[in-house]
């Protein structure tokens, strides 16, 4: 072999190697801005060290904007995103549409059987896991132990709505701007309707019967709305029809709420450094009425791969890293167990260190008591605890939310609101072809 030929062969080999070395795959991850997601972005050094061939770019957007952009991208087959952050509402709908890539082929070490059954069930369609949970949440009662003690009451671990009303009455002192209970009143399918739909489950109500006929004219919804309005009008803060998660969080942190029934993720906020009542907060399961269903919801922010992605393998590698057991251990080692994304894996709740986190047990008990596939006392044709997993629900939920918010603001009675909701939902369901 001549020297020139050898040199040429050597150069070709080097060039090939260099090509392989620089064959970097870039994936775009679309996400929402919340503490756990931000924390993950801060831990990317670990991923980069383990997968130097995958470069991750982030798009962080407000929840509704993210939903709109991702929907547009997937529906038009754009392929702008390789990993998307979606909720339990979207997964059943998008999975059925064929918009998401199945994650059934994640490696065995991922241990898919370790995922909490309730959460996994909400992310599975026809046996296919379409999203991997990044963190899961339910809702529960957060209450002021000091105020309960002063009133001579004890909050049961699993209270009834009657217990809640009694406690709210005892803790209310409007002259001191101290309100017995704070609940969501701001209109929106993910705001007041998340709470009210979950609450209605515990009263035996449902959005639709088995034939998709709206049920707002039934006594169970009347009992739900009457109880809600009574609690809020007599023991709630003024202007509650404008209060969503953030507004109630502020009120609770400033010591103005005796109780707040909302997302379990709020537990770390009300006991955190920004709270003036951090050491006085107790937790209990969401209330029930003895009918077998509690008024708590189930939600998980999960990571999924849109079918339009052109880097599906790399995207799955990222999802595996971000949602496996090692990631939980990584967060614990860097930020402590209290900051580990909750509500996704059974093994986390058998961990002795994690059991010391004050709200850990109540979070898992709340999650376990919600079943998205059988959310109501009576049978229903839909999936979802605080939502109905059909594409029309965002519009329906917001319309009914506005009607109920107006009732809370005193602009209409409970009966008027329910009649209006029944008429509006019936019209929409007829237009969408569910009923004649």
């Amino acid at each position: 072999m001549t020297k020139t030929l050898r040199a040429l062969l050597g150069a070709t080999a080097l060039a090939t190697l260099a090509g392989v070395a620089s064959a970097e795959t870039t994936i775009t991850v679309a996400t929402v801005n919340n503490g756990d997601m931000v924390r993950m972005q801060g831990l990317m050094d670990d991923f980069n060290a383990k997968h130097p061939d995958i470069k991750v770019e982030w798009v962080t957007l407000e929840e509704n904007v993210l939903r709109q952009n991702v929907t547009t991208d997937i529906a038009t087959g754009g392929g702008q995103y390789d990993v998307i952050t979606i909720g339990t509402y979207e997964v059943p709908i998008w999975g059925k549409q064929g918009w998401l890539e199945s994650l059934n082929d994640l490696p065995a070490e991922y241990d898919v059987d370790d995922l909490l059954p309730a959460i996994r069930g909400g992310l599975t369609v026809d046996g296919n896991l379409y999203a991997a949970p990044f963190y899961g949440e339910s809702s529960m009662v957060m209450y002021r132990k000091d105020l309960m003690e002063a009133a001579g009451l004890t909050m049961p671990d699993a209270p009834t709505w009657a217990d809640i009303e009694k406690a709210a009455a005892a803790m209310t002192d409007k002259s001191k701007e101290q309100y017995g209970i704070c609940l969501r009143g701001k209109a929106g399918w993910g705001e007041n309707m998340a709470f009210l739909t979950a609450m209605s489950n515990s009263f035996g109500a449902r959005w639709f019967d088995e034939k998709w006929v709206p049920q707002f004219d039934q006594p169970e919804w009347k009992a739900t709305l009457d109880t809600y309005l009574k609690l809020m009008n007599e023991y709630g803060p003024p202007g509650a029809s404008n209060n969503g998660f953030n507004e109630n969080l502020t009120l609770f942190q400033q010591g103005k709420c005796g109780m707040w029934i909302d997302a379990t993720v709020a537990a770390s906020f009300v006991t955190g450094k920004d709270s003036t009542v951090a050491d006085k907060v107790g937790f209990a399961l969401a209330p029930d009425n003895g009918l077998g269903k509690r008024g708590n919801w189930l939600w998980a922010w999960s990571l999924a791969v849109p079918s339009s992605s052109d880097a599906k393998d790399a995207a799955k590698v990222f999802i595996d890293w971000a949602t496996n057991k090692d990631y939980l251990a990584l967060v614990a080692s860097k930020e402590g167990w209290a900051n580990v994304p909750p509500g996704t894996r059974t093994s986390l709740y058998s961990n002795e260190e994690y059991a010391k986190v004050p709200f850990a047990k109540m979070t898992i008990d709340s999650i376990n008591s919600a079943d998205p596939n059988a959310p109501t006392v009576k049978p229903v044709p839909y999936v979802g605890v605080q939502f109905v997993a059909i594409p029309e629900f965002q519009g329906l939920g917001t319309t009914v939310g506005e009607i109920f918010s107006a009732a809370l603001a005193g602009q209409k009675t409970a009966d008027e609101a329910l009649a209006e909701a029944q008429a509006a939902v019936t019209d929409e369901m007829k237009a969408a072809g569910y009923i004649q």
Binding site: V32, N34, E57, W58, T60, E62, N69, T72, T76, Y81
Partner: protein, 276 residues
């Protein structure tokens, strides 16, 4: 001739002007103040002004979490680029409408303006698909084109108004002196309408800088401007108003400074031809 104001009336006018200015500027001022507070202080009720805990932490965190220079550079390229491209198209168009109007010129102008009344979301899917097929999603060039198209009616309208104020005889004289069509537009019309062109340019840079629908819909990472930067700090759960305010302040500061230094030009341009 204008009547001189008495000192008392002058004082009242000045006070009234300052009051109105403060009311208009108050939300921006409050946002800037909030950006220097801690999170609990930012949401405290009653609102805290002098008792707040002041901090620079929010700016430090926002800077650390995002690639601000990239978002900033994208905003500059997109807003300046779309404005310059718009002017290149709008100057000849406004010239034709102002100096060689046809029977339907007024209708054409009204039709162009009417496109601004259409909700942006109505054309979202067609435009998105078009951009996707042309490979323009998440490109600065694509956004320059999109924003230029969005603002073109306003640019043409403003320039048309300014050009109408210029006596046609001057252009005729230049033609008699042998100026070509382009020579007339570039060497005679443009220098005379410079204040108007400058204020149109400034206003359109501001409009493009603040655009927050298309810039978020049509971008992901590479071409995302400061509007996307702000959106990334909006949180559904958790109180991060101070950080959101810091991000917003960082996004509006450049355009606020530009507006401050060019206010004379802007006011002059916007009131051009208002009094005859």
């Amino acid at each position: 001739m204008a009547r001189a104001l008495s000192p008392r009336r002058k004082l009242i006018s000045t006070l009234a002007a300052w009051t109105v200015a403060l009311i208009i500027f108050f939300p921006v001022l409050w946002m800037i103040l909030t950006s220097f507070k801690t999170e609990p202080s930012a949401v405290a009720m009653p609102p805290q002004l002098f008792t707040a805990d002041w901090t620079l932490e929010n700016y430090a965190e926002v800077w650390a979490r995002s690639d601000y220079p990239r978002f900033f550079w994208n905003s500059v390229v997109i807003s300046v680029g779309s404005t310059l491209l718009g002017l290149v198209i709008a100057i000849p168009a406004a010239w034709a409408m102002a100096f060689v109007p046809g029977k339907k010129t007024k209708d054409l102008l009204m039709w162009m303006l009417s496109t601004k009344m259409m909700p942006a979301v109505a054309v979202m899917i067609p435009l998105y698909l078009l951009f996707q097929r042309l490979g323009l999603i998440d490109t600065k060039f694509g956004l320059v084109i999109a924003l230029m198209l969005m603002n073109l009616p306003i640019i043409i309208w403003m320039l048309y108004t300014y050009f109408k104020e210029i006596p046609g005889e001057i252009l005729e004289a230049s033609r008699m002196d042998g100026a070509t069509l382009w020579g007339e537009i570039i060497y005679v019309l443009t220098p005379m309408a410079l204040p108007g062109i400058a204020s149109t340019m400034l206003l359109n840079i501001i409009l493009a800088w603040n655009e927050a629908f298309w810039t978020i819909v049509l971008t992901t990472t590479k071409a995302a401007p400061l509007s996307a930067f702000i959106a990334s700090f909006s949180a559904p759960q958790g109180l991060f108003y101070a950080k959101l305010s810091a991000a917003s302040a960082m996004a509006i500061l450049p355009i606020l400074i530009l507006g401050w230094f060019s206010q004379k030009q802007l006011v002059r341009g916007l009131t051009f031809g208002a009094v005859k």
